[in-house]
């Protein structure tokens, strides 16, 4: 299972990096989303995959018994998903507004802020 997930993460990273290197804004945002997913899955995988019960202390005892799934990676991923949702939604709005204002979605054409003004 770990091997399979590692493969998926690798593919996601590869696809994400490929996409953010494209010139089209739409592809860049897809790339960023894929990279976010890859990072989330990475946390999930390196946080140890255990087939266990949720980490709830059973009634009547004070400690966890038996095998349990580590809740912390899940909490981290949940937080990262929420943050990613907000940031990506903002990015989509920004990219759309840029497209409407500049009339292009080719990132190669957006170099005005880097250039020295012409004489």
């Amino acid at each position: 299972m770990t091997f399979l997930l590692a493969l998926v993460i690798g593919c996601l990273y590869a696809a994400g990096i490929f996409l953010i290197l494209r010139r089209s804004m739409v592809k860049v945002i897809f790339g960023l989303i894929l990279l976010g997913h890859a990072a989330n899955l990475l946390i999930f995988t390196v946080g140890r995959l255990t087939k266990g019960v949720p980490a709830f202390v059973p009634e009547g005892s004070a400690v966890l018994g038996g095998e349990f799934a580590d809740p912390l990676p899940q909490a981290l991923i949940l937080t990262a998903i929420v943050i990613g949702f907000g940031v990506q939604a903002f990015t989509i709005v920004l990219f759309k507004r840029t497209w409407l204002t500049l009339g292009t979605e080719d990132l190669d054409l957006m170099k005005k802020t880097d250039e020295l003004p012409r004489e």
Partner: protein
């Protein structure tokens, strides 16, 4: 449970509370201004209080929700955090006042002030947190607010700059996330104090090295270290001046803070290799930043490249890794926060007076407003490092530490770069202040400063005077300030002093 510890939640909750109040009163801009002013003043008072408490009583720690460290969310104010909080509160207050004078109605109506407060919340949270994942969360809070502040107004240049800024920062966030995940996989904890205790005993050294490289990349992007700085000069000159000023003063310094925190406290045993990399990066950052600045004729772009160049000095101090060097880096950060922000404020004043940011078209400010020229000289010479201003001492200490460590090449670069810094500051002086404004430009550039009311002028000038005074005072009263920086550095290089107040003594 010591109740004084609870005050460290103020820098996070106060900006949030005032932002909420401002959103409720979104129709009334005057009310928002009052709330902003009051809350920023209170924030400065609280920051000074925290700094005083930390100096006199040692580290403050708080466990949110009462969950004991390392399981809960830890907030920590050691000397470094307290100093950073105080400096950022000062910048927050001056930016709010400066904004009253220059921000247009449209932006004010569209949540400009609440966004500033949320930005401050993110910055303060990043300084105070004692947990790697929480650092990520605060970074994101800070980034989202900065994204919106950057594009507020929606001019083509702003959008274009924002695309670069947003994309590269999202990329670095995803690197951060991956690094935090792997770190948890290795160490089983993300609490900084716990990591400092566990990391020397870990067996997977190679993986730990990879993680520290990943962290170096992600914080390097935020701090605009070579070769990750290209987004900064592409975007920082696009928003209105107060926004550019607070970004240039604080955002990159949060990245530097995180680098210092990680490679002193959290990974003390990983620093050998990292320091070598940082040393090379710092020399290139200083040099390439200042070379970029020398070529520019737009004041804001020139200053943006200078941010990059100055970051190099701080990283240099960190890379040397001696108590003196780190103390120098800390002093440098505080000095730079003040001087750099002030230079951006002054560039806004120059634009008001001459109608342009372009140095070739600008001119005649000295003849018309000598006091602006004096204010500029104070900050510019402080940045270049002329005694007795704050920048001289900052550079002096870092360079002395560099000589002490026998890093002659990088130290030579540092000295050479400060000459070029002086050169480019003189360029602004010659073009904007000394020479006559070209007749063709002067005719159709209205002096918007002269047409401002007395209150407006006061709000424009008082932050600049305040920060210039701070630059002078830090130069004159160098010793007591530096002693704080020194004890902060000693604290940083002794992980046990950070661990014990949070986790308790080792059994």
């Amino acid at each position: 449970m010591n109740q004084i510890n609870q005050i460290i939640i103020i820098p996070v909750l106060l900006p949030l509370a005032s932002a909420i109040a401002m959103i409720f009163f979104r129709r009334s801009v005057p009310l928002q201004r009052i709330i902003g002013l009051v809350s920023s003043t209170l924030m400065l008072a609280a920051a000074v209080w925290i700094l005083g408490a930390v100096i006199s009583g040692g580290m403050l720690t708080m466990q949110a929700g009462g969950w004991r460290a390392p399981f809960g969310i830890t907030l920590v104010a050691d000397l470094l955090s307290a100093v950073m909080i105080a400096a950022s509160a000062l910048i927050g207050l001056t930016t709010v006042i400066y904004s009253f004078a220059v921000i247009d109605k449209e932006r004010e109506k569209f949540f400009y002030y609440p966004l500033l407060q949320l930005l401050m919340m993110g910055i303060n949270g990043a300084f105070l947190t004692g947990d790697v994942f929480n650092l990520y969360v605060w970074f994101e809070v800070m980034l989202i607010s900065s994204f919106v502040l950057l594009v507020l107004g929606g001019t083509p240049a702003q959008l274009e700059g924002a695309i670069k800024y947003v994309t590269i920062n999202l990329l670095s966030s995803s690197v951060f996330l991956a690094a935090a995940g792997i770190l948890y996989g290795i160490a089983g904890t993300l609490n900084m104090a716990d990591l400092a205790r566990i990391s020397p005993q870990l067996e997977q050294k190679e993986l730990l090295a990879i993680v520290s490289i990943l962290f170096m990349i992600t914080f390097g992007v935020k701090a605009a270290v070579f070769p990750f700085f290209f987004w900064l000069p592409a975007s920082y000159h696009t928003p209105p001046i107060p926004v550019a000023a607070i970004f240039s003063g604080l955002l990159t310094k949060v990245g530097v803070y995180a680098l210092i925190r990680f490679f002193t406290t959290v990974f003390p045993h990983e620093s050998g290799f990292i320091n070598g990399v940082l040393l090379v990066a710092s020399a290139l950052t200083m040099l390439i930043g200042v070379l970029g600045a020398v070529a520019q004729y737009d004041i804001r772009k020139l200053l943006s490249f200078h941010i990059v160049s100055q970051i190099g000095y701080m990283i240099f101090g960190l890379a040397l890794h001696s108590p003196l060097a780190i103390a120098g880096a800390l002093f440098y950060i505080v000095h730079n926060i003040i001087a750099k922000t002030n230079l951006f404020y002054i560039s806004g004043m120059i634009e008001r007076i001459t109608g342009t940011f372009d140095l070739k078209k600008s001119g005649g400010v000295y003849a018309r407003y000598p006091f602006v020229a004096v204010l500029f000289l104070v900050s510019a010479l402080a940045l270049a490092g002329i005694p007795p201003l704050s920048g001289f001492w900052a550079k002096f200490v870092v360079i002395k530490a560099g000589l002490g460590a026998e890093e002659y090449i990088v130290t030579g670069v540092a000295i050479f770069v400060s000459l070029l810094t002086l050169f480019s500051m003189m360029k602004i002086w010659n073009e904007a202040f000394w020479k006559e404004q070209p007749q063709t430009v002067a005719a159709d550039a209205p002096n918007r400063y002269a047409s401002m009311g007395t209150a407006g002028k006061l709000m424009l000038v008082s932050p600049v005077i305040l920060l210039a005074l701070a630059s002078i005072l830090f130069g004159i009263f160098f010793e007591p300030v530096f002693r704080i920086a020194e004890s902060a550095a000693v604290q940083l290089l002794d992980p046990e002093s950070y661990i014990t107040p949070i986790l308790g003594r080792k059994e």
